[in-house]
Amino acid sequence: MKKHWWKALALILVSYTILAGLLMDAPRLYLLNETIRNLHFHVTMWFGMVILLTISMVYALKYLRTNNPIFDDKSVEMAKIGVLMGVLGIITGAIWANYTWGEPWSGDTKQNAAAICLLIYFAYLVLRNSMQDEQQKARVSGVYNIFAYAAMIPLLFILPRLDPNSLHPGNGGNPGFNSYDLDSKLRVIFYPAVIGWTLMGVWLANLRIRTRQIERALED
């Protein structure tokens, strides 16, 4: 039971996110209206993705240092769930944008950068599948993983801020969140939401990592 506490925490936090995110008072803002509540669902997907891809990159480094295949397994599965969250983030973002910015894809810098970032990670998954040899696959994709991570940081955190016309809040030379998009009442839900969704992702990745371990055990 001891090692399962974080799964329970994930379920509790996501339940809290749904209940509080939909029911608690939200600031009444022009154009956004009730959609400000998407903060707890759409934005958290991206936060979760960045955290999971960071974990993935750390495991890629660990693999390259030790050559222990378990680190490669962890690295891939974390990246897969991270990419899934990114895809969900881009779809939910398009829905949100459709009703607030007027069209699902307005070529906003952050939208484009996020799409490029996802493409880089899609390439990572394709690259893995293109190689037969297990060790070569793990080494090459581990190196690529680090490159992909290094490309993601400027794409998501630097480029959008250089564009003064970006539609996303917190951009246009304006780093981080400001009072407009995140006040203390929203934070109380937003931060637990980030932790909850991330833990859910880690849990799903964990299931697949364990499946891979069983497969390995059955192979030899």
Partner: protein
């Protein structure tokens, strides 16, 4: 047979009791705000209903995830025990 008769008489007597306590229901009864009803689910543009639906979905998917986790745990036990023995 006795039981059956008792049951029938019981039903009749219940019907009588119900009729004695009955009062007329009119259209106004539906608008009477002095009587408290379980209105929470209908308040605020019925948002609570949506929340209930989403929560049911989330709980269902969570339970399924938990069951996968447990199943995997069992398989793990079997496979890794076998490995130690062989």
């Amino acid at each position: 047979m006795k039981k059956f008769l008792t049951l029938i008489f019981l039903c009749f007597s219940l019907a009588v009791v119900a009729q004695e306590g009955a009062y007329e229901i009119t259209d106004d009864s539906y608008k009477d705000q002095t009587v408290e009803m379980a209105d929470v689910m209908r308040d605020n543009g019925k948002i609570y209903v949506v929340v209930a639906v989403i929560m049911v979905l989330f709980i269902g998917l969570s339970l399924y995830t938990i069951s996968i986790d447990r199943k995997l745990g069992k398989v793990e036990k079997e496979v890794f025990k076998e490995k130690v023995n062989s």
